[in-house]
Symmetry: C2
Subunit: 208 residues, 2 copies
């Protein structure tokens, strides 16, 4: 039995009071992982961006909006957990300055200065200690190479690789790579079944 932090959903980075950058992460994989972890007898704490999906009522849930808010919540919660599954898709760019008023249309193009948001997993890796971390990578090219680069940068024990077609879909196709770059799981099917298989691998390889 472990206490597991699961990050889930997208974050939003506002340009002005109305418009924002985001992605189509639905929180469904996060909900499925929470269900699977609860079914294995684990305790689950979730930090989630705005989604419509219903998380299991048994989880302790904290809502956040931006990537910075997600990191702050995780820095508070992670030290009290045994491991982390980072399935959230935090927005990784934000406006350099947020306009306090709705940006007015003038008929002309505008140039928007975007800066990278903080890398939540890389930050949490700094306070990892003897905890385990499972990251997710959504890649559209050089998929294995980029996933392994992320695993190393974020000091993860497993990285789960999937494509953009998994976003906001009921099914998923994924591979789990370990620290040696070995594919320890390859699965296509519902997110619920995929979540159970991932939890099995975590139980077997990461929980001691």
């Amino acid at each position: 039995m472990a206490r597991i932090l699961i990050t889930s959903g997208p974050t939003r980075e506002y340009l002005d009071p109305v418009r924002y950058l985001t992605n189509a992460s639905s929180g469904r994989m996060g909900a499925a992982l929470a269900e699977a972890a609860l079914a294995e007898g684990h305790e689950v704490v979730m930090v989630s961006g705005p989604v419509e999906v219903q998380y299991p009522p048994e989880v302790s849930l904290q809502w956040v909006l931006t990537t910075d808010e997600m990191l702050l919540a995780c820095e508070e919660i992670f030290p009290k957990c045994d491991g982390l599954i980072g399935v959230a898709a935090p927005c990784d760019y934000k406006a350099e300055a947020i306009s306090p008023h709705k940006i007015r249309k003038t008929g002309q193009p505008i140039q928007l200065d975007l800066v990278e948001t903080v890398d939540i997993m890389a930050e949490l890796a700094k306070i990892k200690g003897d905890r385990w971390m499972v990251g997710f990578a959504l890649e559209t090219e050089d998929t294995h190479f980029r996933a392994m680069t992320k695993l190393q940068k974020k000091n993860c024990d497993f990285i789960v690789l999937n494509g953009p077609e998994a976003m906001h879909a009921h099914d998923t196709s994924l591979e789990v790579l370990n620290h040696q770059g070995e594919v320890v799981l390859k699965f296509t099917g519902t997110k619920e079944a995929a979540a159970r298989r991932i939890l099995e691998r975590i139980n077997q390889d990461l929980l001691r």
Copy 2:
């Protein structure tokens, strides 16, 4: 009895296969207006961007993703309708070029060139003929002045003015202005009640 086109929800403008610009429009006001119109015996055709809200099963519904797609659908449907309620919040900026691959993080800021999307209501005004149009304006400053500017630009019969706090909320606070700039309705309450009041005004002033 009229045949009414209702546009609803946000649209999305992708920067790459994953990231997009959007807003928090939930489609709830669109759903409430559809319910209210059906209750008055009207026929309803909806064109909606991606939302989780359930639209009434009695409406004829067409899903779209981008602002261009929303315009195309409306140009097809509007000529066959008696009037239009444009409660959608189409994304009004888009990337000048969509990256075919996920934009790679380099640690450096990026400059994004945004161009305005087409103004759906202004385009539909060109083929309005003897149909009526009700637009929505979400303003954060100089609210009456800007709403009236929009009413004129989009050649609307009514413009419904509200603030960003209405987005993704259950309640709303709104004013309806007519072509003379008179406030013909001022209402605060649930979106369902607001929708019924707006339909009453449409029935009374616009349906002949």
